[in-house]
Amino acid sequence: MGSVWLAVIYIGGWILSMRVFGYFWKNRKLAINDAEPWFGEHVARNQYIALLQQTEPEATETQLMAALLRRAMEDVVRVLSMREDKQVLSNLVKQGTVGDDIMAQFALSEKELEAEIMAVIEEANTFKEGWGQTILQSASEMVMHEKTKQLQKELATRKEEEARKQAHRDQRKEQNKALKAKKSADTKDQPAEKVAAA
């Protein structure tokens, strides 16, 4: 009689612990899905969608094209960034420094990005048949070109910086010269003083 009870308790205990484990495991899975997305807000996409919804006045075709191109550019930047991250991440996971749940999060974000790019291609085709094929290529070129344009802003700030630094350098040079001139003037006077003191 007693051993039957023991068996029941044993099995019941197992079932209970399985259910408890399952409960916590499900909660962890949900936590990953609610976790932070890989990138922050997709501003360019939000701007495009907001522009589409404008009614008074409506956005012009050109404005929408521009907004779609910016959206595609942001997607290109994200794809490149994720490619780098993938390398780094797989190395870290191999080393064991980070857990597998980050990989799961990453894979999810990859799928999201794929869907986003598909959406962009579809939108592009609504403007002109076939634009979907080339829009990403154009966007890649534009991303590189934008980097070149950053140089323009840099030039002005650097000129100010360097002018300040050069002014300091020139100032110090003058001070050193004055110091040296003073020193050599002093040493010239010394022998005469020694004779006078003697």
Binding site: T62, I135, K149
Partner: protein
């Protein structure tokens, strides 16, 4: 997914609350869309095909560069700088979809020429920054390092000048102007040490 509060005002996209193109309060910037829209007008609303370049702009830039070169050869360095600056501003305003490699080549030459004009006027800081730009756009070009070296000599940074000139020599061992500049730098260094 949050919605963006924008409106269209005077044909420009601006923020909904303050009607600004770049609004720090709304933390929004629509200037990229507006600039791109402006550039798209030149294609008559057509989708820009990859690699398309508007010949008019290239011609304008080339003409300004030639003007600058003419001024430079005639020792009118101030006018040369003005012409080069014009060309540079237009070159920086190319539409984003034009090939970036083209823009980089163009800008490298323009900045290099402007740097030479600044060096002729002994405006070392401007020459220095322009030369830095050339190197960032086209590192294996020995001329960029040459200009950087000359500017550094002018600023009294002789050790850095020698480094820059040697780097230029590495890319083009035959460059006689760099070799001359190196000698100039080395005599400058000795003069400093004698002081």
């Amino acid at each position: 997914m949050s919605t963006v509060d924008l409106q269209i005002y005077n044909d420009k996209v601006v923020c909904g609350k303050h009607k600004k193109e770049v609004c720090s309060e709304c933390n929004q910037s629509f200037i990229e869309i507006n600039d791109l829209t402006r550039h798209l007008k030149s294609t008559n609303g057509q989708v820009p095909p990859p690699g398309a370049v508007l010949p008019l702009r290239s011609q304008q830039i080339a003409k300004m560069r030639e003007d600058g070169n003419t001024h430079f050869r005639a020792q009118r360095h101030q006018e040369a700088i003005a012409a080069y600056t014009n060309a540079i501003n237009i070159a920086f305003d190319r539409p984003l979809w034009e090939p970036s490699q083209l823009a980089r080549e163009e800008l490298a030459v323009l900045l290099c020429n402007r740097s030479a004009a600044y060096i002729a006027r002994k405006e070392w800081v401007d020459a220095y920054v322009d030369a830095q730009g050339v190197i960032e756009l086209k590192r294996p070009w020995s001329k960029g390092h040459f200009r950087l070296g000359k500017a550094l000599i002018g600023m009294g940074r002789i050790a850095e000048a020698i480094e820059a000139l040697n780097l230029g020599l590495m890319f083009d061992p035959e460059a006689t102007e760099i070799q001359k500049a190196l000698k100039e730098a080395e005599t400058g260094l000795e003069a400093e040490e004698d002081e």
